[in-house]
Symmetry: C2
Subunit: 280 residues, 2 copies
């Protein structure tokens, strides 16, 4: 089913020769992305973001990426702004052949976008629900921040309708996975637990930082297969994201929760990393 390039195209009713119309990122969500929080002109956790990006490109067998070129663009956009968000998108590039199959001759499209943001977002404890939509399971895509995000788009719509700060999501087989735009941690019997992401979900950078800093501080903290029951028996809950850092959950489906020493200890551990915009 490989029939080469299109010989004619319309965009919103107008004839066009725009080359981006054949990008496999658009056609299939065939690529990965990163959302990097920048403070004081420096991209936070840049090394970790680029590491995950390159890992994703390898997992999807994308072609050669100009990593140093990408880093330079990110650094320049961050330096020119005080506080901002830099989003990186890497797709497999323009289709060489029609259809799902790739040939290996595609050259990746590398996009870097800067979004102005006023200042650090509020860190108030969150009101959280559980989405009625479950996430599809696929170990080959699990953990990747790939461009197939319709599940998150639909879950966000549900979150808005319910006027909640975030919705937690279970997988189709009933395992706890994450929030729609965050990772989740729960505290149970004095241990910090976060869902394994072998079947679905995005392995967040802040999640990784939390796991690492907790381990360094000697706090019991681990990835584990968790379900709805674990969630209900948790004594505290917190969410992590590159944008928000670590934020405690005050209310889960109408049940009040409160941050104890453990969540606060985690927040204290990562606070210098968030504030200092360490280039790591």
């Amino acid at each position: 089913m490989s029939d080469g390039a299109p010989d004619a195209a319309f965009l919103n009713g107008q004839a066009t020769r725009d080359a981006w119309l054949v990008d496999r990122g658009l056609h299939f969500g065939d690529g990965v992305f990163e959302t990097i929080s920048c403070r004081a002109g420096r991209p936070r956790f840049l090394k970790l973001h680029l590491e995950r990006l390159m890992h994703g490109c390898r997992r999807l067998s994308l072609g050669a990426i100009d990593e140093s070129g990408l880093r330079a663009c990110i650094m320049q956009l961050a330096a020119e702004a005080g506080t901002c968000i830099v989003k990186v998108i890497v797709t497999r590039g323009h289709a060489v052949a029609r259809g799902y199959a790739f040939t290996g001759d595609e050259r990746p499209t590398q996009i870097v976008l800067r979004y102005p943001t006023s200042e650090a977002p509020a860190q108030n404890p969150l009101c959280v629900g559980i989405s009625s939509m479950r996430l599809g399971e696929n170990p080959l895509l699990a953990g990747l921040k790939h461009l197939n995000r319709l599940e998150q788009v639909l879950a966000q719509k549900q979150r808005q309708e319910q006027q909640l700060d975030e919705l937690l999501m279970l997988s189709s087989s009933g395992k706890l996975v994450s929030g729609t735009m965050s990772n989740v941690f729960l505290v149970k019997d004095g241990r910090v637990l976060t869902p394994s992401l072998d079947m679905c979900g995005v392995a967040g950078i802040m999640r990784r930082v939390v796991l690492r800093e907790a381990a360094r501080a000697g706090m019991p903290c681990e990835e584990r297969v968790l379900d709805h029951e674990d969630l209900q028996s948790a004594t505290e809950l917190f969410l992590s994201s590159s944008r928000l850092g670590v934020v405690s959950v005050a209310d889960l489906e109408g049940h009040a929760l409160r941050a104890t020493d453990i969540t606060r200890k985690i927040q204290q551990l990562i606070a210098p990393l968030l504030a200092g915009a360490v280039d790591e």
Copy 2:
């Protein structure tokens, strides 16, 4: 997390103001598509393709679509070429806000592409395997021809490596779904069966035509939840796609199968529709 539009961008290392870089089709695969086979200057099953496209747009709550404008573009591109494939992509459009959530103020991006094709593809019986990759389940997305197609991209890679014509796919819970780029039918006890698509898979136009024509001809034919065992006990198998029509499977994982009267009857039923390029 809505921070508006980007204020700077790089595309492959070059500063740019290209507007398409904020399209939600690219960022999230937030949209749907159709692949329409055109013969003798006419798009085959255009009415059914547009019906499915509009249904997908409604299911994803995309904004207003200019359906008659789309139809005109498709008709024009098909008329100018003899045999071709016209692909339609409709995305939610440029992002109004950053992040997964949509505001409802987005205006859909409507793309129509024409791919030249030489003539009708070969109709030789196919050698087919079963993919080791399973499809994630999500009833909210099931049946839609949406732009989140990384599973198909990866499955096609596997198909190429195995040098097979097609791979059949099971869902994460072990149900038979479809091929990577086709729908599947099996014949068992004289009945024609095709997998229900309530949990995943694409509800193909040719699949719909086969079900309709079989029903009209009084042949026992139904959608049903099917698994690997049903596949193994099938006496014959055939695949359907807009491009290929109905093609019988000659070999499933090394086991020879042959088309009997039933597959041939189905092929005879749809042959006039395929040849005549009926505008339906």
